[in-house]
């Protein structure tokens, strides 16, 4: 097993007396696409914001390559009065990349926004804004990219294009960790899912492993459908059942 590019050990986050995260541990490797799924209030955004360096954990450590984490927030963090190129150039300069102009050109090509380079971001569609948002997260060529609910504001076509783009990044060796409400999205694209509920990791493994574990519980609970219809049960029902079985 190669060295992990991101290593999370026993991360806990407390807000007063409430624990938002409790001893969360996992690793991410190069070329891995990891989904963090869970119900509302599970701690997904808190976990990603700690990994991104926005918040400090109350306990535990986040290791890996220091300062080499790209972050893409749920809502595009862009200046709507600036053009696409100006946004990219500003963040490239703030990231102190060696050749800002060349990096901007590369990002425009990678995101397919060359023709919209001079357009003000405020006039772009939600999908294109999200592409610029991701491009900014990639400006410093990070080994790990964190995406918070990347497809939440996109229509299905835009979502499809976005995932093609993300999978291409993973194929080029980047590690991508994303949070999502859409468990179907996690099943389709992630190589590993981390199920978070009430700040605790309930499961970490591949989508197939998760489906098996959730399905086994269902069978043990006697709720499975007769006639081998177990295979037809979708991932989302398995997820809901998994949480219910653990009191969530």
């Amino acid at each position: 097993m190669p060295e992990p590019v991101l290593s999370v050990q026993g991360v806990t986050k407390r807000y007063g007396v409430r624990d938002a995260l409790r001893g969360v541990s996992f690793e991410a490797h190069a070329g891995e696409l990891v989904a963090v799924i869970g119900p509302n209030g599970a701690g997904k955004t808190t976990l990603l914001s700690i990994l991104a360096g926005i918040q400090a954990p109350s306990a535990g450590t986040v290791g890996g390559v220091p300062g080499n984490v790209g972050w893409v927030p749920q809502y595009p963090a862009l200046y709507s009065k600036l053009s696409v190129a100006e946004n990219l150039e500003l963040f490239a300069r703030l990231e102190r990349v060696a050749d800002p102009a060349d990096t901007v050109r590369q990002m425009l090509a990678q995101t397919g926004l060359e023709e919209r380079a001079d357009e003000q971001v405020g006039r772009l569609s939600g999908g294109n804004r999200q592409r610029v948002n991701i491009a900014i997260g990639l400006l410093a060529d990070p080994r790990v990219l964190l995406l918070d609910e990347p497809g939440s504001s996109l229509d299905p076509r835009q979502r499809e294009r976005l995932w093609r783009f993300i999978r291409a990044l993973v194929e080029r060796g980047r590690s991508v960790v994303f949070s999502t409400h859409d468990v179907g999205e996690a099943e389709r694209y992630a190589q590993r899912v981390i199920v978070l509920a009430d700040g605790e990791v309930l499961f970490s493994g591949s989508p197939a492993e998760f489906e098996r574990e959730a399905g086994g519980e269902r069978e043990a609970g006697g709720e499975h459908e007769a006639g081998g219809q177990h295979e037809t049960r979708d991932f989302e029902s398995a997820f809901v059942e998994f949480l219910r079985a653990r009191g969530h």
């Binding site: 360096g53 009065k81 963040f91 703030l94």
Partner: protein, 446 residues
């Protein structure tokens, strides 16, 4: 920080309407307040009915003074609405055409001439409490002036009579004989007669009369001074404790410039920080380590940008106004210091407001809600309200930069007190306080 500053300037350049409003609105408000402070209130309309006979005169000693001369004093501070009768005057007051009515009785000249009974004018008021207060104080002041003028005339007539009694001369009034001997001369004549008298009862009697004449002449001389004191017991000798006296116009300039500086700086600084949060960029900028921009750097950039822009507008205003109001350009170094430090303090308050708000609109509203009352409180003069309330106002004004900025600029432009240095130190302390508050507010990134 350089790239962030460049970005903010680019955004400002593309928000032309916002920039125009940001400059025009505070400058307009500031000029209105300045004009309101520098201009005295308009003359109130007062219905006047004069029932005295035309050409009536007041007999003072041997001279006759037309009653109309006193009317001039009385009517100088009001806009006279002539009325033919008391009923018409009252009707004008009731209908709101006039705020008050003055009724001059037909026997005013007789009573003034008598020297025994006081003359009376009747005043009838209307309008709301504020208008009544204004017209009442105006009429009271005008009546006091007229009374003072009249007592001055009486004093002069009485002084002329005393002079005649002392020095002698021609009494052309009261049927007195020609070439009257004065008291001062009686004493000399009597002493000459006494010297020629042989000792005896007659000489003793004459010596007593001469002694009384001496005494009377001396005391009558003193009574002239007493008359002056009685007619105007208190004279006003005005002086200013601190520095030179500033005219109301130059103070209004300082108020107008300070208000513009405050509004532009607060709105830009608060809006600048809030915009980072509104665009979701704040977390992206300061996350780390290493952060793209440090939190302190971000706050300093916003405060400096706002301070710089507001400084340029305020200095241009001051320079422009100096074409109309005489300002001392030899003190331009102090103007710059006062404007720069004040702008920085407003910038610090602005970023503190911006750090608390989630949106630009909320930050702007908060900046307005906070700054307008503070500006008005800072303009409340000592003695205008009860002592306890003024202490509260002073304490509030101490905690915010407007009053200190006003005093610094007043000191720089008008040499008013307290000294510019004290106000600048106060502003620097407030900058540190609000900078620290902004830093706390920025801990929340979403």
């Amino acid at each position: 920080m350089r790239w962030l500053l460049r970005k903010d300037l680019l955004i400002l350049r593309r928000s032309r309407l916002l920039v125009v409003l940001l400059i025009i609105y505070p400058v307009a408000i500031a000029l209105l307040i300045g004009v309101a402070i520098s201009r005295s209130p308009g003359k109130p309309k007062v219905a006047v009915v004069d029932l005295s006979p035309p050409g009536a005169t007041v007999q003072l000693g041997n001279s006759k003074v037309p009653v109309a001369r006193y009317y001039d004093q009385l009517f100088n501070e009001i806009t006279v609405v002539r009325s033919s009768s008391r009923a018409q005057a009252v009707s004008r007051v009731s209908s709101g055409q006039a705020l008050a009515a003055i009724v001059i009785p037909p026997d005013i000249a007789r009573k003034l001439s008598s020297g025994l009974t006081q003359a009376q004018v009747q005043v009838i008021y209307n309008g709301d409490a504020l208008q009544q207060s204004l017209v009442r104080s105006t009429i009271d002041s005008a009546l006091a002036q007229a009374n003072l003028s009249l007592s001055g005339e009486i004093r002069q007539v009485a002084a002329r009579g005393i002079d005649l009694l002392l020095k002698g001369g021609d009494f052309s009034a009261l049927g007195a004989p020609q070439n009257v001997l004065g008291l001062g001369q009686i004493s000399t004549v009597l002493h000459r007669v006494v010297d020629k008298q042989p000792p005896g009862a007659d000489r003793t009697s004459l010596e007593r009369v001469a002694g009384f004449a001496d005494f009377a002449a001396q005391n009558l001389g003193l009574s002239k001074k007493v008359l002056s004191t009685v007619s105007q017991p208190i004279q006003i000798d005005a002086s200013t404790v601190h520095g030179r006296r500033a005219t109301l116009n130059t103070y209004a300039v300082v108020v107008a410039v300070s208000i513009s500086l405050m509004f532009i700086c607060l709105l830009l600084a608060a809006g600048g920080v809030a915009l980072e949060r509104e665009e979701n960029a704040l977390a992206r900028l300061v996350r780390g380590p290493p952060a793209l921009v440090s939190r302190n750097g971000l706050l300093a950039e916003k405060a400096l940008l706002a301070a710089g822009c507001s400084f340029v507008v305020a200095f241009t205003m001051l320079a422009g106004i100096s074409a109309f109001v005489k300002l001392d350009w030899s003190r331009v170094g102090l103007w710059v210091a006062a404007l720069a430090v004040s702008a920085f303090a407003f910038g610090a308050l602005g970023v503190a407001i911006g750090a608390l708000a989630r949106e630009v609109r909320a930050a702007s509203l908060l900046a307005f809600l906070l700054s307008l009352p503070l500006a008005f409180l800072a303009l409340v003069p000592n003695g205008a309200v009860a002592a306890g309330l003024y202490d509260v106002i002073r304490a509030i004004s101490l905690l915010f930069p407007f009053k200190a900025a006003l005093q610094a600029l007043d000191g720089a432009v008008n040499q008013a007190s307290p000294s510019v240095g004290v106000s600048l130190l106060h502003l620097l302390a407030l900058s540190a306080l609000f900078g620290a508050l902004a830093r706390v507010g920025l801990r929340r990134l979403e």
